[in-house]
């Protein structure tokens, strides 16, 4: 079943809408530049780009505070930016510089900022699901009023941790929102092959918690469905599962030849670019004009360019840094 629609746009105020637009642009620009600079050899290791999925991260995280925790995946840049992690620090972290948000010790797949409620991108598929349950347990035990939002992919929905996490959250009535970002592929394998459920949201029924399918390319739909789930959790009514059907414009990782998708399919989804759709909705409803939005674009571009310049100029950590931060004391 689908939930939410563009009609809900009238209920969101101007600041929220422009804020969501800017955040989505930040994510898109960040990812485009990351892909470009990765190809230029400036980013060691792997990057997994979120471009195309911005509506899910932004539609949900715009409703969260620093008091709420999120867990993420290997494709975590979007969740980090949406949750408020410092963008310049993220760029430096991608390059492994000492000014990185994790001091260069985590890299793309492990960006985190616990102060901002970001419990980390995660290199293990499904690894963040039990962690999110833990964060929710803390919120409930300490009475903080916070919720935990757990982002994971369609691939993770088959991991043992998915089932253990949903079951545990259900029996303990934890304030957690499980968000499955189904972008149709677990690496190179289509979801129609790897998943026994035609809608992952149906798995919620196995744990007797609400499960809804959401159009992940429609930020308003995401916003509305997430709002309900978050409110549910916050008032103590327990966990929910959202399945956001979405699409990633890039491959699984940068360097992926993406032979498992057709150019036609990609073109189809590019027509449904969530940022383009939001931009149109903002202009159509007279909330802001093209110039204003272009100005936001320019500001974002400058912000990202500055971030990359700063990161390129920043020093690498001293070798001895490798030996620190393993323990609090040893």
């Amino acid at each position: 079943m689908a939930a939410g629609s563009a009609q809900a746009a009238v209920e969101l105020d101007r600041d929220t809408l422009l804020g969501m637009y800017e955040t989505m642009m930040q994510i898109r620009t960040f990812e485009d530049l990351a892909g470009k600079n990765f190809a230029a050899g400036l980013v060691p290791g792997f990057v997994h780009l979120y471009a195309g999925e911005e509506a899910v991260a932004v539609g949900i995280c715009s409703q969260l505070t620093d008091n709420d925790f999120i867990t993420s995946t290997h494709r975590g840049h979007g969740h980090c930016i949406a949750k408020g992690v410092d963008i310049a620090g993220m760029v430096a972290e991608l390059m492994g510089k000492s000014t990185g948000v994790c001091k260069g010790k985590g890299g793309s797949m492990h960006i985190a900022d616990v102060e901002k409620g970001m419990l980390g991108a995660n290199g293990i598929v499904g690894g963040g699901i039990p962690l999110a349950c833990g964060a929710a347990l803390t919120a409930r035990t300490l009475g903080t009023g916070g919720v935990a939002v757990c982002f994971f992919g369609d691939g993770a929905a088959n991991q043992g941790t998915f089932h253990e996490g949903l079951n545990l959250a259900a029996i303990w009535n934890l304030p957690v929102v499980f968000v499955c970002e189904n972008n149709g592929y677990a690496e190179s394998t289509p979801v129609r092959y790897h998943c026994a459920a035609s809608d992952i949201a149906n798995r919620a029924g196995a744990y007797e918690i609400p499960g809804v399918v959401v159009d992940g390319l429609d930020v308003f739909a995401v916003y509305e469905a997430a709002g309900e789930a978050i409110a549910r959790a916050r008032r103590g009514d327990g966990p929910s599962l959202l399945e956001a059907k979405t699409y990633r414009f890039y491959g699984h990782f940068q360097g992926d030849q993406v032979t498992y998708r057709t150019a036609d399919e990609l073109e189809l989804y590019k027509q449904r670019d969530p940022i383009v759709a939001l931009r149109k909705a903002i202009v159509d409803r007279g909330i802001a004009g093209e110039d204003q939005l272009n100005a936001i674009d320019a500001r974002v571009t400058e912000q990202l360019d500055d971030a990359w310049s700063a990161a390129k100029a920043a020093p690498f950590p001293e070798p001895e840094e490798a030996l620190t931060d393993v323990y609090v004391t040893y």
Partner: protein, 341 residues
């Protein structure tokens, strides 16, 4: 050094229970998670009472005092609840999770190793994971291949994890208090055969610092480093050897990570001979780790090769005579000492 503390005789198991009680009283963020640690969850007449208090009764009585919001029975879902303990620790709780038997670690290794042990480091030191995982180790009760292992070397091997192997009730209490108060991920290995053993345990809430070995017996002729229950085996062997005029020094490392290298090296500098007794399997064992360290840093003090007395390279057998053969005995320790003295 310190004023005389009163002690009472109690079992290893009771000492652990007392430590948990003290920790939970002093810090409201300490919560327990585990399978059947209270037992009888959601049973009407057991709302504030335990059915089991843990499979060995170690956590008995705690749910009565602290309630089911702090003594959380879990489903059989190791990845789920160990991962939850890690996530909770990173966000402000101080959980003590029980992995019922160390042999089950395969079900939750990602949560311990790739998440809990590493998040502080990968996040540039900007997070911490103050979780304690208690788990049973040891053979000797015919629990067979999947419920009798030790395997602490697997955890000691991992950066970000601390490993504790207490051998006496007093050590168990003091070290568990320190483990819970510690801000890092600590694995606390309780030898199931030792649960019923008795010893003097100090009153009060003083913890024993991690990374400090204890010399359980002083001697001049050979150093025996013994892990967990092997301390008792080594002391029995030392009595036999004393009758032959060989005085063994028995060292209980108490923690394998961090390891008190200095105490071991000083002892070997005195005795010139080292034997390590480890109930675990030999390859890549804690015994091997200690032996290599001494062979490196204590090379010039050695008058004989370093001997390791360990279990064989097999799973733990079921039948009692086979299991007895598996676990290092005082006789095997005596024989090994005779080879090098």
């Amino acid at each position: 050094m310190v004023t005389e503390t009163a002690t009472r005789t109690m079992t290893y198991q009771q000492a652990i229970n007392e430590a948990l009680q003290i920790a939970m009283r002093e810090d409201p963020t300490v919560v327990l998670l585990g399978e059947d640690i209270a037992g009888g969850a959601m049973v009407d007449h057991l709302v504030n009472d335990d059915a089991w208090g843990g499979p060995m009764g170690v956590t008995k009585g705690l749910v009565q005092e602290f309630g089911r919001d702090r003594v959380l029975d879990t489903p059989i879902t190791e990845a789920g609840f160990i991962g939850a303990a890690v996530g909770a620790a990173a966000t402000g709780l101080r959980p003590v999770a029980e992995l019922m038997f160390v042999d089950f670690f395969g079900c939750c290794m990602d949560q311990i190793f790739d998440q809990g042990a590493k998040l502080r480091y990968m996040f540039g030191g900007k997070a911490k994971c103050p979780v304690t995982i208690r788990t049973q180790i040891g053979a000797g009760v015919s629990a067979a291949g999947q419920h009798s292992g030790c395997h602490y070397s697997v955890f000691a091997h991992m950066p970000g994890i601390k490993c504790i192997v207490p051998s006496t009730p007093a050590d168990a209490k003091g070290l568990l208090l320190s483990a819970i108060r510690d801000d890092d991920l600590v694995m606390f290995f309780e030898n199931k055969v030792l649960y019923g053993t008795k010893g003097d345990v100090p009153e009060g809430d003083e913890g024993i610092p991690l990374g400090v070995a204890d010399i359980k017996r002083v001697g001049d002729d050979v150093t025996i480093v013994a892990i967990s229950r092997m301390v008792q085996q080594a002391l029995a062997a030392a009595d036999t050897l004393a009758a032959e005029g060989i005085e063994a020094e028995v060292i209980d490392p108490r923690t394998l990570s961090p390891l008190d290298e200095e105490t071991i090296l000083s002892s070997v500098a005195k005795t010139h001979r080292l034997l390590v007794v480890d109930e675990d399997n030999p390859r890549c064992s804690a015994a091997t780790d200690i032996a290599a360290m001494v062979a490196d840093k204590g090379f010039d003090t050695l008058d004989a090769p370093i001997k390791r007395v360990t279990a064989p390279h097999t799973p733990v057998p079921f039948s009692p005579p086979l299991e007895q053969f598996y676990v290092p005995s005082p006789d095997r320790i005596v024989d090994a000492v005779r080879e090098i003295v």
